[in-house]
Amino acid sequence: MLVISTALRSSATKSAARGLAVSRNYADFASEATFETKKCDCFLLETLPPTTAVLTREQGLSYYKTMQTIRRMELKADQLYKQKIIRGFCHLYDGQEACCVGIEAALKHEDHLITSYRDHAFTFTRGVPVKHVLAELTGRRSGCAKGKGGSMHMYTRNFYGGNGIVGAQIPLGAGVAWACKYNGTGGVCVAMHGDGAANQGQIFETYNMAALWKLPCIFICENNRYGMGTSVERAAASTDYYKRGEFIPGLRLDGMDVLCVREATKFAAEYCRAGKGPILLELQTYRFHGHSMSDPGVSYRTREEIQEVKRTSDPISLLKEKMVNSNLASVEELKDIDVAVRKEIEEAAQFATTDAEPPMEDIANHIYYKEPPFEVRGCHPWIKYKSVC
């Protein structure tokens, strides 16, 4: 379960590229390359993240595969939703892959993360295999929450969901950071929110306390320009989300560039670990889908805009271009990864659509923790469920 996140995190350190056990000879590829990243806009900061980033071949292949897996997983979820195999809410992340992958690449084993309902990708990067994400979406017993949570409520070690109430994850995330400081673990908590949530009052209450108590919390705003159907200009008196912390330093950066995201997150994590308190990052990104599956996403933005972003700023294409142009990988090699990923997603979807639904006996479990067995009333007095765990 921890394979993906461990791979992303460990490859963030500058380790020599290991030879891949494949039939082709990759000896004539570069082992690493240095790229320039766009300078971040900064607020209340004297130093900035570096404007160059080193990408090793190993890292590049790992980021590429992870982003592609997320892309295909989300597109598969789209398909399953249209087939009515996934029900209720389904908020997709395609277009924003560089954010979650770049963030994960900068984190350490003892770090924590919490996000909103647009959480499938983070659930994966935090360590839950695709088949268990999809099985949760299809409401099956092998879902990562045993089918009881659904799209918006996925959790794993050091990952606190998946939160359905806009903005709620911010105080929760600061609370996790509080526990890190309290326990002296050296860990930080990354608390994600969107441009829509940025106007929630509880976020400002949290900024105040996090700054006051110097909590090791990295607040990250994924600004994808639209809060549901409301563009940032129509929702916010100030769209400089990285300045919203007022007394909390902030950075605004290109959320479509996985290296830029990684370097900024590393910078932010070092800042927090040094005991300086919280920091706020704004990642400028874009979602290709509408807000959720019930939103076609074209009534409040033009198809031309979507196409333009896909053409010029698709994070996966941008990474591919970087890698191919600097001889870190070949087009064919990346195509092979695409094929492998598609196969993996197909298999995961197959699993998620054939696995059994949760057993009825589970309906009343998990109400209380460490509680002796008790009865739970059903829909009328003659239906009694047993809660045993």
Binding site: A145, Y160, A168, L172, W178, A179, N183, I367, Y368, C389
Partner: protein, 361 residues
């Protein structure tokens, strides 16, 4: 228990020590302790027992608590364990739940539960439901405590009872202490519970002294949830109540006893889980049931008890309908004469008891 002893010998507010055996150097078996001091000793002992426990809220630290419930704790445990928060209920309640998710055991105080409405999303959506939604992965060991219900002339926005609102929600546990024994035992049990627990205290009870048995004074004393206590036995009619109203029921019972009516007074202690079994046993004996609460009538604690009794096995034992004595169905007024009529008084209880005993089915 050392904490309680030293508190009593040094305390600047008067805590009447009924038994003076300590002059002779022996420990008295029981001790009269106010609810405030009972809560204070419970907090002290739990903070001492487990370093993951912390207390947060407005004025809990340097001010010693607005109602002095946390007196002395900040001096003893410091900034890390006893934390003054800004006036940010939804913010600090959310942070407390997050801290609980990551392994701490916060006691989150609301200066009154009226202010908890701002934080209700975190109490219920983040607190109560997460263990279930995560399929058993993420328990939330948190306590929310504070004063609840009517006080004296604090008017509508500061007088609401939240027993029914929070009692409504699966995933929460809700307790409502009356005596010092209740306060100590329920709060200690709440801190040790692995789930979100709401402790509904009452300001009017803080200064009231109750006898604490030796057992109730011990460091590991807990009162189990879901178990009501029969405060007074009787055979003519059952009165069920919680918190401040338990005292009113006992007053009414004393008056009615003079008229030959013996009331059985049940102190619920626990709103959720609700001990319907104890009520049922009592109804089998008395055949009459009156519920008494400070909260509003509609969809309240008494409404729930009535429904369960009616649906359950002792319906045929009732010789009268279940009657509810509740707060009046209006925002609590300020003027004393109006306020008195908006909350159950002893005369309301005695009136309804007699109605129940006359109105045979």
């Amino acid at each position: 228990m050392a904490a309680l002893r030293s508190l009593l010998s040094v305390g600047k507010n008067t805590v009447p020590v009924l038994l003076r055996r300590e002059f002779h150097g022996t420990t008295p078996a029981t001790l009269k302790v106010t609810v405030r001091d009972a809560l204070n000793s419970a907090l002290d002992e739990e903070l001492e027992r487990d370093e993951k426990v912390l207390l947060l809220g407005e004025e809990v630290a340097q001010f010693d608590g607005v109602y002095k419930v946390s007196r002395g704790l900040w001096k003893k445990y410091g900034d890390k364990r006893v934390v003054d928060t800004p006036i940010s209920e939804i913010g600090f309640a959310g942070m407390a739940v997050g801290a609980a998710m990551a392994g701490l055991r916060p006691i989150c105080e609301f200066m009154s539960f009226n202010f908890s409405m701002q934080a209700a999303d975190h109490i219920i959506n983040s607190g109560a439901k997460t263990y279930y939604m995560s399929g058993g992965m993420l328990p939330i060991p948190i306590v929310f405590r504070g004063i609840n219900g009517a006080s004296d002339g604090v008017a509508a926005q500061h007088s609401q009872c939240y027993a029914a609102w929070y009692g409504h929600c699966p995933g929460l546990k809700v307790v409502s202490p009356w005596s010092s024994e209740d306060a100590r035992g329920l709060l200690k049990a709440a801190v040790r519970d692995e789930n979100p627990v709401i402790v509904l205290e009452n300001e009017m009870l803080y200064g009231v002294g109750f006898e604490l048995s030796e057992e109730a004074q011990s460091k590991d004393f807990v009162v189990p949830f879901g178990k009501a206590k029969i405060e007074k036995q009787g055979s003519h009619i059952t009165l069920v109540s919680h918190s401040l109203m338990v005292g009113k029921c006992l007053e009414a019972a004393a008056v009615l006893a003079k008229e030959g009516i013996e009331c059985e007074v049940i102190n619920l202690r626990s709103i959720r889980p609700l001990d319907i079994a104890t009520i049922e046993q009592s109804v089998i004996k008395t055949n009459h049931l009156v519920t008494v609460e400070g909260g509003w009538p509609m969809f309240g604690v008494g409404a729930e008890i009535s429904a369960q009794i009616m649906e359950g096995p002792v319906f045929n034992h009732l010789d009268s309908p279940v009657y509810r004595v509740t707060g009046a169905d209006l925002p609590v007024p300020y003027a004393k004469n109006l306020e008195e009529c908006s909350l159950p008084q002893m005369k309301d209880i005695t009136f309804v008891v007699k109605k129940s005993l006359c109105n045979k089915l």
